[in-house]
Amino acid sequence: MLFIEVFQDLMLLPRSLHASNAETLPFELKGSLFTLTVMHLFHLDHAVIERHLLDKVKQAPGFFNNTPVVIDLEGMTEPKQAIDFERLYALLRKNGLIPVGIRNGSPEYQEAALLAGLPMLPERRSNTNANGLIRKTDLNELTASLRNRIIRQPVRSGQEVYAPDGDLIVLGAVSAGADVIADGNIHIYGALRGRALAGVKGNIESWIFCQSLEAELISIAGHYQVCEQFNPTDLAKAAQICLREERLIIEHLTR
């Protein structure tokens, strides 16, 4: 009936929307990555939902402590069934979950959710099979569907290159002030002087390779290091970077 996917689901929000007027800024808008819980809703029966929720709370009371949650409507078995989002919001709120948005679902659902103050979040490729059951993402399947992107000129300051669903290969340097981003690995056949973010959708198996590590920032699956944290002996050398036990490991590439 109800499935809570306690699965790291990273959203990539739009980056840095700076206001142009520099003096006395009351705020600044910046993009950031968050790990959110997704509730895959299959059908709406408030009583059943509440019963299941109470079960879950019994199993993991610590988890239901005003936890933000995204409601995914893709698996709705009766997509025409009307949803009273305000009532659903109140129900979840009462049980320690705070809905922050919805994902997937028909335009009618999206409109109704927006009226209840729940925005639409970007879709993700479906992992749901015909029975509405979620299976864990198979890494082999993920690799097979990768679409790689090759950039044949240097990535200059102020440019941002993103390889969705695949590896990014740059045949040249990445300048200071440039961003290279990939869902998979990043390979740079030149100096990395800008920022490189691999595995931005949470693929902890991603790597970054470069011929000279002079980066401003490196990140794999949201775990990042800025240049000040680098060991000085790693600087300006060919390097491979991976994630081990949630720590970025920088190794020299021997040629």
Binding site: R156, S157, A173, S175, A176, A178
Partner: protein, 272 residues
């Protein structure tokens, strides 16, 4: 077929207008029909450096707005044959530059006036004026000084050339890029006060067209309204002369990169 060349840099005060004036003069000296256009609408300088500010009647924006013809606005240089100047307006702002207007004038200059080289002197920054100056370019002279912020801004401009020029948008051959390293002082670079030629080339990774040494002759000629390339006794003038020859395909070694050696007498008696 005319070649459109933009002289650009990102940062201000690095020597774009000095380079535009000397480069266009050098091309004309070598027999090519050349026009140099000032895209710095609102802050016109090119006519001062070319020494024709008193002869400006109509300008680039007047022609774009059909208030004057190109014939009326083009100023013929008095010193060098084949050289024309299209001055900017001092009273308008850069919003007066429209893509359609610029395109119409460039094609008229190519077809009706049979210019072989159109040199576009870009304003600083990455706003409208600079974007319009580089949009139709076939080749680009990127002027940089040997300091970090200037190199960073040039890098940014190179990114814009490869993504927002007409050639990039229409997936044609990319804009051909040339590096002009201006205000270079070899002794200060060797001391580590400035970036060296190698440092700059490593960051920007485009072919070096010329190194122009820091020189008092540049300021003197600007104030006198004579492009420095016409001062054949100055090192900066010679550097620009080499640069034009290299642009036209001559293979010349780069001068002014090494610290000048002191002559025998100077070494004997010290000083200098």
């Amino acid at each position: 077929m005319a070649t459109i060349i933009v002289v650009t840099s990102g940062k201000g005060g690095v020597g774009k207008t000095t380079t535009s004036a000397s480069f266009a003069t050098g091309l004309a000296q070598r027999g090519y029909r050349t026009v140099v256009i000032d895209f710095d609408v609102g802050l016109r300088n090119l006519d001062l450096i070319m020494g024709c500010e008193r002869r400006v009647v109509y300008d680039f924006i007047n022609v774009i707005n059909n208030e004057a013809t190109l014939n009326q606005a083009l100023i013929r240089d008095k010193r060098v044959e084949n050289l024309y100047i299209l001055p900017a307006s001092q009273t308008r702002d850069k919003d007066a530059l429209t893509k359609e207007g610029v395109e119409r004038i460039l094609s008229e200059l190519k077809q009706n006036f049979e210019f072989e080289y159109v040199v576009c002197d870009s304003p600083a920054g990455i706003e409208r004026g600079a974007l319009m100056a580089l949009y139709y370019a076939d080749e680009a002279l990127v002027v940089t000084n040997p300091e970090v912020s200037s190199v960073r801004d040039s890098d940014r401009i190179l990114g814009i050339l490869s993504s927002r020029s007409r050639r990039a948008e229409q997936s044609e051959n990319p804009v051909k890029e040339h590096l002009v390293l201006a205000r270079y002082a070899p002794d200060r670079a060797n001391r580590g006060d400035m970036l060296t030629v190698q440092d700059v080339l490593e960051i920007l990774a485009i072919p070096l067209l010329g190194v122009v040494p820091e020189s008092s002759a540049v300021l003197q000629s600007s104030n006198a309204g004579i492009p420095v390339i016409l001062d054949e006794n100055s090192d900066a003038g010679l550097a620009y002369s080499d640069l034009v020859d290299r642009f036209l395909g001559k293979d010349l070694p780069h001068r002014f990169i090494e610290i000048p050696k002191k002559g025998f007498l100077k070494r004997l008696f010290g000083g200098g």
